[in-house]
């Protein structure tokens, strides 16, 4: 990297900027205020057909200020953290607060909820990697993929590495800082037969570079995923069980979390309004949040309100056990915050797991989906209809690739029809899950 990133110095700098902004907000008439500031630095290199294609250095910073004047709120942000800019940003937030309406539910989270326990969650692993080293890792990855017979074209491989520091502070006197890192290597390849071209990709990502998979392995996986798609047909239209690949099953958990989030609930924009305590999944399924897990993707001891995060159980024995709330959405719903301002952190499923082969056998005849397209999910009704790519399964065995079809249903019914979860857990994101087998969805193809 061109410049070294001194996380400790950045932490000190951002902390003093945040305190400066809070003091200024108070002096200029705010009754309460909160500030988020961050700085991230990274490099991304991409190669294609054995040559460097791009080298991109990034350094992003920003400061966002929210002020409360009585029960009115105003927010402003800037990518410039100089003195003049902080002054202008605070003034702008206050100016906005003169025109917004009163919100009796507004304001900071209660002072006694502020995080007091802020351990180092071991999520910062800087990678002292030169641009040349980054390029050679990407080249190795692509080379291994292109060496696989049948790969005819490449969309390239890229390696990115980055680290950053963020600070959240508010006028209760709370100040939390966090530093973190994220590294990734990915590859996308193309193969062609008489029916046309197919592409697919593979990637590895981790906070600690030592946890990344070997470049050759990623390249070969991209090649295999691409090749297995050649010769795809269209499936017949009908009602079939659907096996969601782990990377897609985590998306289903994402839709669930969206519907459990306080913001959607108080706006009546969730199909799970009024469902607290009622069954949603089979009774063998539970979903938990582990925000303090060390070294994990989304670990944080405090949420975006400064509230201490906690282990939540959103689904317990199949029933909706908790919503996912920030201080504000909790007030709107007459509940208490679950420490989820800014989202859920590190979701883990508690359920009996089966091998993917056992799930295929259980499915007998249906579709195994490996890629989904489009945004056809309606959070208000739970209606679900998306484009898909995958494989046709018969007699519990994968038969041939399929494409250009849709799968449709309703999330509430899909969750009730969950028939099994795989032990092929994908741990790359914040949501860890294996494959999901869901009975009886509508497949539209030929």
């Amino acid at each position: 990297m061109a410049q070294a990133f001194d996380a400790r110095a950045q932490q000190t700098r951002l902390t003093s900027r945040a305190q400066q902004a809070l003091a200024l907000a108070k002096r200029l008439g705010a009754d309460a205020a909160e500030v988020g500031a961050s700085v991230d630095q990274g490099v991304e290199v991409s190669v294609r057909l054995g040559e460097v294609e791009t080298v991109e250095l990034s350094r992003d910073q920003g400061i966002a200020i929210t002020v409360y004047v009585g029960q009115r709120k105003g927010s402003a942000s800037s990518t410039d953290a100089g003195d003049d800019s902080i002054q202008a940003t605070v003034e702008k937030a206050l100016a906005i607060a003169r025109y917004t309406g009163e919100d009796p539910m507004g304001g900071l989270a209660d002072a006694e909820l502020m995080a007091s326990e802020i351990p180092d969650l071991e999520v910062h692993y800087p990678w002292a990697l030169s641009t040349d080293q980054a390029i050679s890792l990407a080249l190795e990855c692509e080379r291994a993929g292109r060496a696989v017979e049948g790969i005819t074209q490449s969309d390239g491989a890229s390696l990115s590495t980055g680290e950053g520091v963020r600070v959240y502070a508010n006028s209760h006197g709370f100040l939390g800082t966090q530093k973190g890192s994220r590294h990734a290597l990915s590859c996308m390849l193309i193969a062609e037969d008489d029916n046309g071209m197919q592409r697919d990709f593979a990637y590895t990502t981790a906070r600690d570079p030592k946890a990344l998979r070997a470049p050759e392995e990623v390249g070969r996986e991209a090649a295999q995923c691409t090749l297995r798609r050649l010769g795809a047909k269209r499936p017949a239209t009908g009602s079939f069980p659907v096996l969601f690949d782990p990377s897609l099953a985590s998306g289903l958990v994402g839709h669930l979390l969206g519907a459990l989030s306080g913001g959607a609930l108080y706006r009546e924009a969730s199909f799970l309004c009024g469902r607290l305590g009622t069954p949603l999944f089979p009774d063998w399924f539970s979903l938990e949040e582990r925000p303090m897990e060390r070294g994990a993707t989304a670990s944080s001891p405090f949420d975006a309100d400064g509230v201490q995060t906690r282990n939540n159980r959103f689904i317990a024995d199949g029933k909706v056990a908790s919503y996912m709330l920030s201080a504000y959405s909790a007030r709107r719903l007459s509940l208490t915050t679950t420490g989820n301002a800014g989202g859920a952190r590190n979701l883990r499923i508690s359920a009996p797991l089966q091998t993917p082969e056992a799930l295929l056998e259980k499915m007998d005849c249906g579709v195994w989906v490996t890629e989904l397209m489009g945004q056809g999910v309606n959070g208000v009704t739970g209606d679900y209809s998306r484009g898909a790519t995958g494989f046709w399964v018969e007699n519990g065995k994968v038969q041939y690739p399929i494409e250009e079809f849709t799968i449709a249903g309703n999330l509430e019914q899909m969750f009730a029809n969950l028939a099994g979860i795989g032990d092929d857990v994908d741990t790359r994101g914040s949501i860890h899950t294996g494959s999901w087998l869901i009975n009886a969805m509508t497949v539209a193809g030929n």
Binding site: T54, E56, T79, Y99, M197, T237, T381
Partner: protein, 479 residues
Amino acid sequence: MTQLDQAASILLTPGGLDLDSLDTGLSHAMGAGIDYADLYFQRTWQEGWVLEDGEVKDASYSIDGGVGVRSLAGEKTGFAYSNQITAEALVDTGKTASGIVRSGTRLSGQAVSPVSAALCYPGIDPLAGLSAADKVAMLKLADRVARAADPRVSQVSASLSGTYEVVLVRASDGTLAADIRPLVRFNVSVIAAHNGRRESGGAGGGGRYSMAQLRDAGVAERYAKEAVRQALVNLEAVDAPAGQMPVVLGAGWPGILLHEAVGHGLEGDFNRKGSSAFAGKMGQRVASKGVTVVDDATLADCRGSLSVDDEGTPGQHTPLIEDGILTGYMQDKLNARLMGMAPTGNARRESYAHIPMPRMTNTLMMAGQDEPSDIIKSVKRGLYAVSFGGGQVDITSGKFVFSASEAYLIEDGVITAPVKGATLIGNGPEAMGQVSMIGHDMALDTGIGVCGKEGQGVPVGVGQPTLKLDELTVGGTQS
């Protein structure tokens, strides 16, 4: 004062730079072996006001700005940016970007030649045209209108947002160009509840003009009524059909079909790399006779319009498909040069912190001869889709999807029951060959599109007349 002088005083003066000093700045990016470099200066002011529960409870304002420096050597791109616009930042970013190659001839840049381009929108600050009190009043009007429209309306939210963007480009090929880009948008979404069922509806629009013009066009009332109408239609919707059938797309926003089915596949980078399903098909038939698709950056005041693109090339009217034959790609300078073609004014980037790529502006299908009512009448059993959510395409296999948010069954030539939202899936080149009737009612969308590519979002427009595709797969639940 010209736009160039105005942009220079906004972007360069505060950091102690001027137009003449950019030659020195550029020389750092034109290191050994670099054959092209550009400096992209940008500052944006953004404002968003949101109404919920009848009150504007939150509003936000943000300022962003900086310089992106790019050095090209053959197919290689070096890129760095800074949010400081100073001589020092130009040295740092220039040296970093040009580090992509370390040997070769050091070329000197061409003499400056300011770009002259016709303005496709006024060079104004769109946020300044309306007082804060007026902005709040506009949102409250939308709330009142939506709630008064029907007792089944249970939730109303509305938003007003605007961006004032000033850019200046200086490139080693002599290009010197500036652009002042206003962009505003108003949106209403509602939830209607009846007999234990809840459905949503939404409407919105805007373009490259002032917030005052947006208000004077009566959008608060119009979009509030339209959002309510859509939610009430959806309250009556039955399950959508599943399988292949004729699909009639309404005029305007359903043009997202073109954006996904052909637009992305005709971007220069994918064709240069041979990764598009349309690669190598120049001059061949890729759509039914009568299908003419263009990308037009020059439409007055439209959301996707650009007076000059993000490399300083004037916005253009670029034919892509003419009477069914593939005739053009959308190009930026890098891909145009590597393919031996001319840039088409389609270089776009989300901001100074992003690398430019060939992107769509406003993508349209030209009007045909058919009467829209005849198109409906021609369908025995099919789908009539008039409003859509998002879409996506796999440019390599050509498979694309787009999701209807308001659609109806057509039975024996008559529009009957509304159906629930469903995703439509097809293959780009095949779908364009399924177009069998084209209405004379070409319409543009209302100004709501955002296109994503490699993580970068840019505003775009679409437009089309009422269209019939003989066969497309509809992803409902009723098989």
